[in-house]
């Protein structure tokens, strides 16, 4: 074997050098693009956040120190946009996790037509956000919208969905549940497939009713998937921009403006690039912290299994 190995391609060290060069060669295109469009902009964004840069004037226009950060941390606009992002996350995460779990467990209990429900619940997820916003704005239209007419038929007064500061965020959250539930639903379905059928049969033989099986067997065994879905959902919800921008433009009177739209407004409307970069970094710290919790938790869970 050793003799064979050295015969065709010359010395072992020569081949290793060849392998190293090929490794770098294979990595090179990715490394270049990664440097240009991810690492570079990240570092540049960090530099910008300490500067007085604006779009109107080129260059960094002087060192601002921690000024941008101090301004953000003492700005009520910043904190209210952070609060709106948090509120959206709090409003969307529980229904998107719990409802997706319930629907997946139910689909798993029926024998036929599973494909149909998979199709129906996942389909909205592939629709572009702007098409979703068009459809739901029409549904929410005061007086002539479908929801208003149905509530009127029930004798209820409809809220002024998107135009009422107390209802706007809830309305966008409702739309989001409809739009993205299918993704979590499919993740739960995949987790359910990993639970062996024999466990249910054994439980049934021991006299456990279907409801007990779900509570005592399915839900506990699905806990790893549930944690995964929960963390992915929190991270996804923290990135809220599209639906709010499209349906309420952050209004009424900035009552729903999330932090990404705040960055967009100060960076691209007010042209305060340095300040916007500092807000981006603060937002990044929040998302990073949540991602890190998830990463550590999933690592630990994996180690337990192994």
């Amino acid at each position: 074997m050793t003799a064979l190995r050295t015969v065709p391609a010359g010395t072992g060290s020569g081949r290793r050098r060849d392998e190293a060069r090929s490794g770098w060669l294979l990595l090179a295109p990715f490394a270049l693009l990664y440097l240009a469009f991810l690492i570079g902009p990240t570092i540049y964004g960090l530099v910008l956040s300490f500067s007085n840069a604006s779009v109107v004037h080129s260059g960094l226009r002087g060192f601002a120190g921690a000024g941008n950060y101090l301004e953000a941390l003492t700005s009520t606009d910043f904190w209210s946009s952070m609060w709106h992002t948090a509120l959206f996350t709090v409003l969307t995460t529980p229904p998107l996790v719990v409802l997706a779990l319930v629907l997946a467990v139910f689909v798993n209990r029926i024998r036929t037509h599973r494909w149909f429900f998979r199709l129906v619940f996942f389909a909205p997820y592939v629709i572009p956000s702007s098409a979703v916003a068009l459809i739901w704005t029409w549904l929410y239209t005061p007086q002539i919208g479908l929801w208003d007419s149905w509530l009127a038929a029930l004798g209820l007064a409809a809220p002024n969905w998107l135009a009422d500061p107390n209802w706007a965020m809830a309305s966008v959250a409702l739309t989001t549940v409809w739009w993205t539930l299918g993704f979590n639903f499919v993740l739960f379905l995949a987790g359910l497939q990993d639970i062996p059928r024999e466990l249910y049969e054994a439980a049934a033989v021991d006299g456990a009713g279907p409801w007990q099986q779900v509570r005592r067997l399915t839900v506990p065994l699905l806990s790893r998937t549930t944690v995964l879905v929960l963390m992915l959902q929190i991270i996804a919800s923290l990135k809220i921009f599209d639906q709010i921008f499209l349906m309420t433009q952050g209004g009424p009177n900035y009552a729903t403006r999330p932090v990404i739209e705040y960055i967009y407004d100060i960076g691209f409307t007010d042209y305060r690039t340095g300040y916007a970069a500092a807000v981006s970094m603060l937002y990044f710290v929040v998302v990073f912290a949540v991602s890190l919790v998830w990463f550590v938790a999933s690592r630990r869970a994996q180690r337990k299994v192994l």
Binding site: G40, F121, A123, L134, L146
Partner: protein, 296 residues
Amino acid sequence: MAVTVLAPPARAANRPTAVGRDRRELFFSAFCGSVLVVFAAIWVLPLLWAVDTSLKPEGEIANHPTAWWSDNWTLDSYRSLLSQGHMLDWYLSSFVVAALTVVLCVVVCSMAGMAIARTRFPGRRVAFTVVAAGLFIPPQVLILPLFQEFGLVHGLNTYWALILPAVPTSVAVLIFASFFGGIPGELADSAQLDGAGWIRIYSRIYLPLTRPAISAVSIFTFVWSWNNFLWPLLVMTNPRTMTLPVGLSQVSSAYGIQYAQLMASAVLGALPLLVVFLVFQRRIVEGVATTGLGGQ
């Protein structure tokens, strides 16, 4: 039959009988089924309503906005959208951008995945760590510096501004790396003995074996690129080269309260990916399940 044989006769006395159990199972399945049907109806409703509205004459919507039935079904709104608007331009832009992104992403990220999983070179661990770190950087944070970068090279309003930043994707590299890592290394060893170089080993032996990874990454990159909104909104300001989601976000100011037009735009905007989803349903669902990708 088989059930009666398997039923444990001795312990059955103090437990529910097999018949009672069957009835409970049946009842529970029926309960699940009815709940599901109700939710499925709720889920289909907004799409049905959009299609319904888009097929009615504008005048009729103004008079009876919430009537489901129309006496004058018409395709007028679609006709005028396709003949006057920029809809076809937006389809083309979105398709060109998404297709090029997919091809470049699969090629570039699979090469990187191969390098990390299968070749030994100094700095490989560092490279892996740097790639994995990319998972933690939300793209929204990079928008300002990226915008300045493309402004500097006069790249705004070009397709490249949409394509290139989407190509180096950490998730895709890690997916490819885990697939390549699962293929026995002996394949590479024996190919080397036959005198094949690493590039050849990658393209002829390893890449064809990772078809599930290629299809998962392709589908998700395509969907993600097609539906991406914030970055294209900033970069593409020319109505002729806008992508579909950006174009759609401007139609409500163009058509105002012409609801049939608005809903026809929404339906046309939703249609391409719905068709893709119908065709690749199984693959997409499997892809979500195995990779947990697409969390935007």
